[in-house]
Symmetry: C2
Subunit: 456 residues, 2 copies
């Protein structure tokens, strides 16, 4: 290398995609936005940097270690590590300018200085939706969230997933019925790890917390109940009458699962699972996790729940809400690693126009008409051999090429080549537009995720 | 305030929009992407953070002061301050995986710790396109860039702008003809400030650089030439024959302005302006600036040019290119400040469904059908008075409301209210869908920028 040349490199834990991957990533991101918009969510875009005292609502060891925090002049700055704290700040700050229920989505990068390892990112996209009420928020909103998640995965072509729901009140109430009220939060955090660490380890940790052998068995028996949604509700109903919180939780859970059905989410895609607890104390009612059936090892690809108060750190207003977050970068990484993504549908343009005469003016005019017909069009201007020009379209998977030579121009026609089939025809520009658009609309019906592969 | 409550605030110089503004901002951003895609540009998304030695290619006082740089563990990190340096790194790093000419767009946030003042941002979006060749790049690409910019502003509804073009070789050659070869870069930087500081100040600075009175007059006379594009080319042609670089520059400029015409950009929207020099040494040929005719005080809203080598800092490959950058956050700020943006077309959803019965199931089903018809639909679930429900739609400028009471459900109809006209009718869901879609398609034809206001 020449002196002074610096080796180009990207920070580890920072995803930087090649163009073809980036096209697919963007398609997924745009699908998320489109579905959020279909449900009336407003976009939000908060700064990546905030005053440290604004983001670090809980001075805690783990958070502090993982954040990117620094000073510039007198200002103590932190890069956002999630989209929830900035939302809380935003809603508290703009309370009087907002209309409640405030439904917002935000798809943005967040930063965590975690130990770098395969599949773990330090810069990654989160895709969040939340519905925030002013003082109160109807329970029906808790049923809409799974419907949105279902629509998203369905549109992407992922069929093989389960939205698992539970209600924290059911767990809290059950622990209270065992007389374990004081330890409820601690138990919740241990129970939440069941899938990760297994039953034995959970039992061990519960005992360390002071839970008796008998109570451990009862807790594990309870959360491990397996059955259809109806059976689970029947099981829960049979335990009612002892504890108000438990009873309320069961009613909420029953209401929400019935309403999810009204939204048209198939039974096979949502399931009441009493092991779902969510580690965060923040959640107070409905909780969600979503698993990829074939790959339980991945853990939840999308989680959230109902909370009683979003922004107590910044305002005295009571702002209950419900929301869910998709770890978009991680989801993309998994789908890409497992080769579930269709790569054949992404190209920089729909057609490459190749001028075969010195004067490129007709090629420019024809390209303008193609673009006016909503066909993404690139002209190849470089002086290269014919093979190199076609090779360019091939390498980029551009599906069509149009050649414009003296003959075609004299006949007021174009030579349209379908680069997938190899078929070439000399036709009018109008006919070429029709052919290209038809092929595009067929492609538009395929999904980003190859459903055959994921369900094989 | 309660003890422990922290006042919610956002860093100064960081734009954080209210929902209605954010909707419009996103519409503008999406228009930019759509036009870039129409011309076959590939999306790119590079990290916000990079190794400092990667970004700080030129260790320079001004850059150093303005950047956000910090350490995390042993790593020296910098937040990107533009999208060009990351592009250079990306192309050098992925050279063998890319297909050239490599056409990429990137719309992303960049960071500059400048002194905060009105209209100046520390976090702002840049929207860049570049076409990078491997070894060479056809001059025709220089003509495509203004066509893209024209399409963007035209789609946004901004008519009152001029893309001003020049060619650095014309200036360099002219200075050489005066025997000022050695000072060319310095003179270029001073001349570039003409619009900002005025003729007298330019003359003063030129003299300080050692340029004689006679040469100052000649330079100012030359760059101040006013005429149509044709007249300017004729004027330049009359000066040809003395200097190869000058002659080449004139030929390039003539070729580019003719080709811009082939793209269909009207003469009134692009103009050869010999005062355009661009401060950066980086540019070697065509240069662009774009001004808002009514507001010259704003300066260039979009600038760029042709460069000989993108990534010399990272690779020995010769990578010439041409590109342009829109300061999106600043453009939005200006359009918003001057109240040129239509606020009447942005709402979180197209229709608000208001259930008037306890059972909301029919409302959910009807909303599903509306969404399937590509109508963005929100259901109002909160238990509020009727007036509050309608008030919600009004405050958010949602154009339609659908009421579903016992009567409508019994008749299998819906009550559709147009909230702009106040008109209400009880019709079938199919008729309601047709009415809403027609209204949406009419709105779809209006532009984001109110053309009447900008041209008044």
């Amino acid at each position: 290398m020449k002196t002074g040349i610096v080796k180009p490199r990207t920070l580890s834990g920072f995803m930087e995609l090649l163009p073809k991957e980036q096209l697919i990533f963007n398609q997924i991101r745009d699908t998320l936005s489109a579905v959020y918009r279909q449900y009336g969510f407003l976009p939000l875009d908060t700064p990546v940097l905030e005053h440290s005292e604004i983001l670090l609502t809980k001075s805690g060891g783990e958070t502090e270690k993982q954040i990117y925090r620094f000073s510039k002049g007198d200002t103590d700055l932190t890069m956002r590590f999630d989209l929830t704290v900035p939302l809380a700040k935003y809603v508290a700050k703009n309370y009087s300018a907002l209309t409640f229920p405030f439904r917002r989505y935000q798809i943005g990068k967040v930063y965590r200085g975690e130990r770098a390892q395969k599949g773990r990112f330090r810069e990654f996209y989160q895709s969040d939706i939340d519905i925030i009420g002013d003082g109160s928020l109807a329970l029906m909103n808790d049923a809409e969230i799974p419907s949105i998640i279902y629509d998203i995965f369905n549109r992407l072509g992922l069929k093989d997933f389960t939205i698992r729901i539970n209600n924290r009140k059911v767990l809290t109430g059950f622990f209270a019925m065992l007389g374990l009220d004081n330890n409820a939060e601690g138990i919740m955090r241990i129970v939440d790890k069941l899938e990760k660490i297994g039953e034995e380890a959970v039992e061990k940790e519960l005992k360390e917390l002071g839970v008796s052998e008998e109570h451990c068995k009862k807790i594990l028996h309870f959360i491990n109940f397996k059955g259809t949604n109806e059976e689970t509700i029947a099981f829960l109903n049979s335990l009612k009458a002892d504890n108000e919180i438990f009873d309320l939780g069961v009613e909420e859970l029953d209401f929400v699962r019935t309403a999810i059905g009204s939204y048209g989410v198939p039974e096979e895609n949502f399931h009441i699972d009493l092991t779902i607890a969510r580690g965060l104390d923040y959640y107070t009612g409905t909780v969600y996790e979503t698993s990829f059936n074939k790959h339980p090892e991945i853990g939840s690809i999308c989680s959230g729940g109902r909370y009683e108060n979003l922004a107590g750190y910044y305002t005295e207003k009571q702002l209950p809400g419900v929301g869910i977050s998709i770890g978009l970068t991680r989801l993309f990484y998994i789908l890409n690693e497992k080769e579930y993504l269709r790569t054949d549908t992404s190209a920089p343009s729909d057609v490459l126009v190749i001028p075969m005469t010195d004067d490129v003016t007709p090629s420019i005019q024809i390209s303008n008409e193609l673009r006016n017909a909503n066909i993404n069009t690139q002209i190849y201007f470089e002086k290269k051999k014919f093979k190199a020009k076609i090779g360019y379209a091939d390498k980029l998977s551009i599906p069509f090429a149009i050649f414009l030579g003296e003959d075609e121009l004299a006949q007021q026609k174009v030579a349209l080549k379908n680069l997938t089939t190899g078929e070439q025809q000399v036709i009018s520009l109008e006919e070429a537009i029709t052919t290209i658009k038809q092929s595009l609309s067929e492609k538009g019906n395929t999904t980003i995720i190859d459903t055959e592969l994921t369900s094989r």
